[in-house]
Amino acid sequence: MATNVPAGEPASPPGRPRTGGKLRSLPWLAIILLAPVILCGILGPLLYLHDPTIIDLLHPQRPPVWLDGGNWAYPLGTDQFGRDLVSRLIEGARVSLIIAIGGVMIAAVIGITLGMVSGYFGGWTDSIVSQVVDVKMSLPANLLIVLIGAAIGGGLVTIVVCIVLLFWADYARVIRAETLSLRERGYVQLAKVANASHFRILRRHILPNLFGTCIVLITLQIGRAILIEAGISFIGLGIQPPDTAWGLMVYEGRAYLATAWWLPTFSGLAITMTVLGTNLFGDWLRDVLDTRQSSL
């Protein structure tokens, strides 16, 4: 959210005794939600029950195992071309994770650099960066996606470009504000007196102090990036068939809503659980790292 207002849980009052050990304070729900997704992303093809691209027109729209006509060979059923849904979800996990993490990382490098530079140097650099951030913030995400889609068409590159263009400004805005306050700290002033170069101050004295904020922001953004990727694939600008991604699977399954409800339902559920997991994990990190950036 583009706001400086605190959201979510206010920090717990000091002195409240913490119950339970270290294990208890881990975000177990987030771990349970994310572990299978990350596992699928890493192991990928090793976990396939069937080749996710093999078409079997004799058994299209086979229902999940617990319904009449389902069997254990295809636990969640098959799609309109008879492809195994579980294997396709695993492949989708891989694609969605790579795109989300890759896009968010590029956006982070760009946004953090611009935010640090504009917060540290101020002046005209700052006003240009702030103005561009302002423009970005007032253009709804989907309009930007439509524009980019019109310019370069659909596909993997489109998704990554969209994620980078949509997310860099969040880093720039938050990091700029933090750099502004770090700049006035004693140790930065002392480093200046010691004749350290601007680059050295930024790298050795400011960047390490931004670490917590960056980690929290990156975690929360990965969840949002998965949502954006799904949305782009849903309007037909993302991954193109026969490749697959979760958003595309929801889109394709939509046409078979009346006869094969499990197709859009489970792919959407996969997206929701992953995003929920990263959101919870990000909230937990924010509290643990005590970034005070409750607006992230």
Binding site: T3, V5, P140, V146
Partner: protein, 305 residues
């Protein structure tokens, strides 16, 4: 007050100019526009003639100036597919989008605030837990998936509500609720944390000590102060809703600007896309100015920043 107003207006103007530049550049990125207007077997001389007629032989900044001049008069060219003025087509669809976005805005604001207050008052109970779960889920699930589930449950199985088109007020219910969910979750979380913060304020303790009825303390004094940060983000929420409407319109076959743009995208109908993006972006920027101004009336501290 006037200084703040002018500053705010200047910022919006720069934003609009920047957006128009982006649209202009995108239009040029998609390839030589001449290909849309001249047939493939046209001779060199014919192409040069068309180029001159469209002003494409002039330097790029002159082209931009011409483009802005025409855009200000509502002239974005003719839709390549429908052969009608693009701006006119977008204007026709605007009421449907505004209706959808405003309804969702009202739902998310009113219910978001109410649910936030209830969650804060019942902090730590199962009601609070349930409401917070709804909020987290609302921010984690893709809106189009929620829409599809809603169609599946209320349209296909229960057959309570229509799921496609815009033929009467009952057609508005599902799309508006689906669109509202994400914003409702944000508004609820914000209201909840703002209410919790006001609870420990000195003036609340004083009012309690004074013996004021609890309901008056909550609804008259605490809520008023808690709403200040909530109002600050309403403009942003409206922007999200208008943008989010693009996808929701596709899911529910709602005949608004968003669906028109997605169709135009599939047909590579650039004038239609340009007109749509510019019109929606302009309305979002203008609404944000209005929200910011009314906010500065509610919270005078803003004006002196």
């Amino acid at each position: 007050m006037w200084r703040y107003f002018l500053k705010r207006l200047r910022r919006s103007l720069i934003t609009l100019i920047a957006i128009s530049m982006v649209i202009f550049v995108v239009a040029r990125l998609t390839g030589d526009p001449i290909s849309h207007f001249a047939s493939e077997d046209a001779s060199e001389a014919e192409i040069a003639q068309v180029r001159e007629r469209l002003g494409l032989d002039k330097p790029i900044y002159t082209q931009y100036a011409i483009y802005v001049g025409q855009a200000l008069q509502g002239d974005f060219g003719t839709s390549l597919r429908y052969d009608r003025p693009a701006f006119e087509m977008v204007l026709e669809r605007l009421p449907a989008t505004v209706q959808l976005a405003l309804t969702a805005f009202l739902i998310s604001t009113i219910f978001g605030i109410l649910m936030g207050v209830v969650a804060a008052l019942k902090r730590g109970t199962w009601i609070d837990g349930m409401l917070r779960l709804v909020a987290v889920l609302g921010q984690s699930a893709p809106s189009f998936w929620i829409g599809i589930l809603a169609i599946l449950i209320f349209g296909v199985h229960l057959q309570w509500l229509p799921t496609s088109g815009r033929l009467g007020p009952e057609y508005l219910i599902l799309p508006a609720l689906t669109l509202a969910l994400f914003s409702l979750a944000s508004v609820m979380r914000l209201t909840r944390s703002a209410m919790l913060e006001t609870q420990s304020q000195e003036y609340v303790k004083f009012l309690r000590a004074k013996g004021l009825p609890e309901s008056q303390i909550i609804w008259k004094h605490m809520l008023r102060n808690a709403l200040v940060p909530v109002f600050a983000v309403l403009g942003i929420q409206l922007g999200h809703l208008v943008g989010g409407a693009v996808i929701i319109e596709v899911v529910f076959n709602w005949p608004g600007v968003g669906r028109l743009m997605i169709e135009a995208l599939l047909n590579s109908d650039l004038p239609l896309i340009q007109a749509g993006v510019m019109l929606i972006a302009t309305s979002v920027v203008l609404v944000n100015v209005l929200v910011d101004l009314s906010y500065s009336v509610i919270d005078p501290r803003i004006r002196y920043e």
